[in-house]
């Protein structure tokens, strides 16, 4: 700091008891300060990925309205489940049953609405209630038994998947149940999960020539992209909600504390058990949002939906800078992790690269992210 002589000294006499400057505390550089943000890795990753695909696949239509929608939807799917997984992981627990929960919720909606002929909104609400109850059970078992959540939710990964396939076969003799689109027609709640918003805006943009129009067929004259899918809207809502909850509220402080050191948190009066169980329920809620949007989009539910989604959620969260041990992480980071995921998965397709390489990329970036996170953890905790 440079002192200007003209200005009066802002701090006159030091207060009694004010500590002297400790000569051993190094002033931390701005660069290092920027380093110790959980989002750092994912911000760099996002920039790298976009630069890469702008160079490689700019002419492939990846960055036209259609292309953006394409990878935007995929990223939003990852982001929805990553938002739940992120808060749960910061609270110090894992949920490996997310993928099975997606399949399960989808089949519940299909069975209730198509097979048993309930109104769609009843089916959707039932799916949410059942899923959140299972989330509660997951959390309750983890807290009560003191077992690692890894094991308890691994059990539910199999239990839920098995029940889903069994329920579908036992009632309809099929593992795919269709006919949902007809049932959802005109339903107020279904409209919140399927379809698009801002249609007028997109028609206007198409009239301006910013978005292409269909030139032939029954939809000739309409814009190719007719609006923002509800899936993307849900992803944004969940990201903002989870981020504000985590960083700005008392409950968020408790989430960090529960994952950082559960016993220390308990000693200061934080209801750790309640926090953790609520986070399991939130994860189940996010999985069901994903499932409902997917069912509305495809018009069908399948018992094998959501396979491996639990790991993709965890990888997004880890790319976003969360520690596997809990107590540290960022929802914005996790959302960027999901974006990286979506852009790369779809971008490889646009760039004409063999899509199996996506998994190689995934493994590689996961490893890099974990190494970077461990390094950041050392800096913030001062461990050597």
């Amino acid at each position: 700091m440079t002192a200007t002589k003209a200005e009066p000294d802002p701090s006159p006499a030091p207060q009694p008891g004010a500590p002297e400057k400790d000569e051993r505390v190094k002033e931390i550089s701005g660069f290092r300060k920027a380093m110790i943000r959980p989002e750092l890795g994912s911000i760099c990753g996002t920039i790298l990925v976009f630069v890469f695909f702008l160079l490689v696949a700019r002419d492939s239509g990846m960055f036209s309205a259609e292309g953006v929608l394409n990878w935007g939807v995929v990223s939003a799917q990852f982001a929805i489940i990553a938002a739940g997984a992120c808060l749960l992981m910061i609270a110090g627990e894992f949920d490996l049953s997310v993928g099975s929960m997606i399949g399960f919720s989808g089949i519940v909606i299909a069975l209730m609405s198509v097979t048993w002929d309930f109104p769609m909104w009843v089916a959707i609400i039932t799916a949410f209630i059942v899923a959140i109850a299972i989330g509660w059970l997951n959390g309750y078992l983890v807290i009560r038994t003191g077992l690692p959540s890894f094991i308890v939710t691994l059990a539910f990964l199999y239990i839920l998947r098995g029940l889903t396939i069994f329920a579908a076969i036992a009632t309809t003799n099929k593992t795919i149940i269709g006919g949902i689109r007809d049932k959802a027609e005109g339903d107020w709640l279904a409209a919140l999960f399927g379809g698009t918003i801002l249609k007028d805006l997109f028609v206007w943009l198409a009239d301006l020539g910013l978005i292409g129009k269909f030139v032939a067929g029954s939809r000739a004259g309409q814009p190719i992209v007719d609006g923002v899918p509800m899936l993307i809207v849900w992803a944004l809502i969940l990201i903002v909600f989870a981020h504000v909850l985590l960083t700005r509220t008392q409950f968020g402080n408790w989430i960090y504390a529960s994952g950082g050191d559960a016993q220390a948190a308990r000693y200061t009066g934080v209801p750790v058990d309640r926090v953790k169980i609520l986070m399991f329920m939130f994860t189940a809620f996010c999985a069901t949002v994903f499932a409902t949007c997917q069912v509305m989009e495809f018009g069908s539910a399948a018992a094998d939906r959501g396979l491996l989604k639990e790991f993709e959620a965890i990888i997004s969260v880890v790319i976003g800078g969360a520690l596997l041990t809990g107590g540290y992480g960022s929802v914005i980071g996790a959302a960027l992790g999901a974006l990286i995921f979506g852009v790369v998965q779809q971008g490889l397709f646009f760039a004409g690269v063999e899509s199996s390489l996506f998994r190689v990329f995934l493994g590689g970036i996961l490893l890099l992210a974990v190494i970077l996170n461990t390094y950041i953890r050392r800096i913030i905790t001062g461990e050597r």
Partner: protein
């Protein structure tokens, strides 16, 4: 003497067939530092956990300000003004000093129906309180993990004092610290005592206890061996009582009187 802030009479605690405490009594007056000494396994931890509401006593009475109280849990005890600072579990290292300082009592600001943490107030108060205790923070968002062991203890003590603790229980605050940090923590204890707070200082280090203690109670095998005032007892006598006398005398002989 005035009424003690807290008084525990003939506390017994049984865990199944194990008698962890077999009649322990102790009282703490305002502005006093009462040292609770005892070797490992003497029942110090069980006793302070009873005091801070973690365990309910099997027998005996707890009196605060002269009337009997029963704690249903740690929250009860905290509300009654009993704050406990545990040796390793005082703070959460990955979280910032501010977040740790306000843990469980976050100041809130309203935005319509929503309540958010008032970080402006929280940060300002944290910096002020840290300065009073002689800790210079780079910034309130600094992670607790970057502080030394002694500083962490001090932050925990400052937190307890700020939130109106009447009785402050310190569980071996100096046992893992170096010389310089230990004297900082002992100085902090002295500051706290001068505010009229009763301090219960648990230690098995007689020298640390002698440095700040006003009264000394020695626990051995779940029983109180007696309470002595400052000046009435020598460090050697305390050491002997803690270890149960004879055995240590023998050991001391073979080690040339260094223990």
């Amino acid at each position: 003497m005035s009424t003690p802030l807290i008084e525990l009479r003939d506390i017994e605690k049984h865990f199944g067939a194990v008698i962890a405490l077999a009649g322990v009594s102790l009282s703490v007056h305002p502005g006093e530092c009462h040292c609770l000494l005892g070797d490992n396994g003497a029942g110090k931890s069980t006793f302070i956990k009873t005091m801070s509401g973690v365990h309910a006593p099997s027998k005996g009475q707890i009196l605060m300000g002269g009337s009997e109280v029963k704690f249903g849990g740690t929250r009860n005890a905290i509300e009654a003004g009993i704050a406990t600072v545990y040796q390793d579990l005082a703070m959460i290292p990955l979280m910032s000093v501010t977040r740790n300082f306000w843990m469980g009592r976050e100041p809130k600001k309203r935005f319509g129906p929503l309540k958010f943490i008032d970080f402006e107030t929280a940060n300002r108060v944290t910096m002020e309180e840290m300065a009073k205790m002689g800790i210079r923070l780079r910034e309130p968002n600094q992670a607790v993990g970057t502080l030394s062991g002694g500083e962490r203890q001090t932050v925990a003590i400052a937190r307890a004092v700020h939130f109106g603790a009447k009785v402050l229980i310190l569980d071996e605050p100096t046992s893992a610290l170096g010389v310089r940090q230990t004297s900082n923590v002992l100085a902090t204890i002295d500051k706290v005592r001068k505010k009229g707070i009763g301090v219960v200082f648990i230690s098995h280090n007689v020298r640390h206890a002698m440095a700040v203690g006003d009264r000394f109670t020695v626990l051995n095998r779940g029983k109180t061996l007696g309470t002595a005032k400052r000046g009435e007892i020598s460090p050697e006598e305390l050491q002997d009582m803690m270890a149960g006398g004879e055995e240590l005398a023998e050991l001391e002989g073979s080690l040339g009187g260094t223990v």
